[in-house]
Amino acid sequence: MTLITSWIGNTPEFAVPFALAALGLIITEKSGVLALGAEGLMLVGAVAGIGAYLTFGQTAVALVMAMLAAGVVSLLFALMVLVMRINQVISGLVLVFFCQGLTTLTGTLMGWTNQPVPGLPAIALWPLSELPYVGRFFVQNLVVYLVPVIFLIAVWALNRTTPGLRLRAVGENPQAADAAGIPVLGYRLAAIVIGSALIGLAGAFISVLSTKLWISNMTAGRGWIAVALVIFARWSPWKALAGALLFGCIEALIPQLAASGIKLSQYFVFMAPYAITLGVMIWVAAAKRENRSQPGALGTPFIREERT
């Protein structure tokens, strides 16, 4: 009973960073830019959020600053892949290593390591919060409740607005979009910055709202899981949200099992999230539904007037 209540109650805290980061990646990749830098941008968001809180003392300011910081750092990535047309896989990996160094350096020099912050108070959604078993799922901080709203807006913008449709056109067939007068690089730049801001928010959620402190490299591979999640969800935001919940469930379950003394091999438990990621990837590859879900021009740099 305690196990289930507490497990379900802790799931959103794990799921939200995956969900936000995956959504950010989807927005970027819908424009045809392969983004592997989520791990690095989450670190930027994490350190910027804590730094802003310790400087200004406002959680809202901290979250906004985290989004801004990740957006600004992503300009570097945009410069590499859009202007210089460097290989997008390499650029993404380099961005991660760069951010790992940058955030460790900044956070350490500023003395932000292990400085506790208060986070946001949990809000109970009455009467849902009184339900048996699942009640604690509805006692979360404000940002958790905002996640479905952010997803709704993103899906609506991608599918129902002109800029959203153009962004997807740029990702499917940049030559055609260009011929139709759509500024390809402009849309890709916007997609990178907006997506990165969301990934930055995911990082800040981990440091400012969930862990409530910062240490170097604290995202510990969660950005990579988000990358896998996007492939698993086949670039569909709602599937990504479901996948994030699934991963959140698994991560939240691990300590619960140990704390309630259930005998299971420790090493198996540590391996579980990665094994499941791997399994899901294989399943997706094997399922091979019509391959229209991946943006057509994903990973290809756009060179005007050149046939591909």
């Binding site: 390591t113 506790p116 704390a259 309630s260």
Partner: protein, 362 residues
Amino acid sequence: MKKMIFSACLALAGFFGLISTVNAEGLTLEGPPKIAMLYISPTNDGGWTQAFDEARQRLEKDLGIKIQYVESVPESASAIRPAVERFIKRGANIIIGTAFGYSDTFKALSEEYPNVAFLNGSGTTNGPNLLSFYGRTYESQYLCGMAAAAASKTGKLGFVAANPFGQVNWTINAYAMGAHEINPDATVTVVYTGAWNDPTKERSATKALIDQGADVIGQHVDTPTPQLVAQENGVYGTGHHRDFREFAPKATVCSSVWVWDRFLKTELEKIIAGNWVPNPNGALLSMQEGGTDIACCGPNISEEEEAKIMAARDKLLKGELQIYAGPLYDQDGNLRAAEGEVIPDPELWQMDWFVDGVITQQ
């Protein structure tokens, strides 16, 4: 990470130490002593390295020697070597490292610079001018276990640990044995996070333990997260590395702390005196020799219980108390140490069993 594989390697290190010919002459420094330290992480990391830096400051006062240092030297030869060689070029003749991952590079450097003394905290390699050292954390954590049981109302203790190997398991068993000194019915439920530095996992582990009824949370991980969560939830905790009352003054009742200067002062004096012959098996330090101690006692511990804890601490400081002395059985009833025996170090490093009252997976 840095302390991770230390366990497996110590037995090997000891083995090779015995074969290599010990220089009977010992090492005598040329010129006045000049000491330099290499830290694995920044001095303000709140834990491991900060404890070393605090020891350095006390050593400077006690020895009257300025000690240089460099921060954030990663565990790779390409980073360690230039840092050490720069110090040696500037005249340093005593080099102190602070990481498991420095072991091999320190071994190579100690052979290239036979006139320089090398020391390495949590290292695994030793030689005629190289000594690795680590603390018997189970002694200080035994005392923390006593404090935890004293602070607990329910007798249900939780423990957030990094990885299930010897040097973590020995703190867990000692924690439980210490707790049983105060409350024979106390249980210790362990959650391993699989990482030394993952505050997200530490937070959820601590929360899970509190949800399951634990009201004191011990820890053998690097960040103060378990103490912060304990404080948020109005329960107690015991810290590791340094006095975690700094982070959670209302929750932390006791902390296992590093006091490297107590060991390094005597060892450095020996080196400076000349004819230094380091222990070929490395130095695994008891509380008596320096290394670990406790910062005790925080809130919710009565004077009577505090006196008990301090009495046990005195015994450990005098070397009169052996934690892993027989008769000692594991929870499956196997005899692990017979009456009058103490478990030898190589077996301690391989500890994969638990005493009664420890609830764990695997």
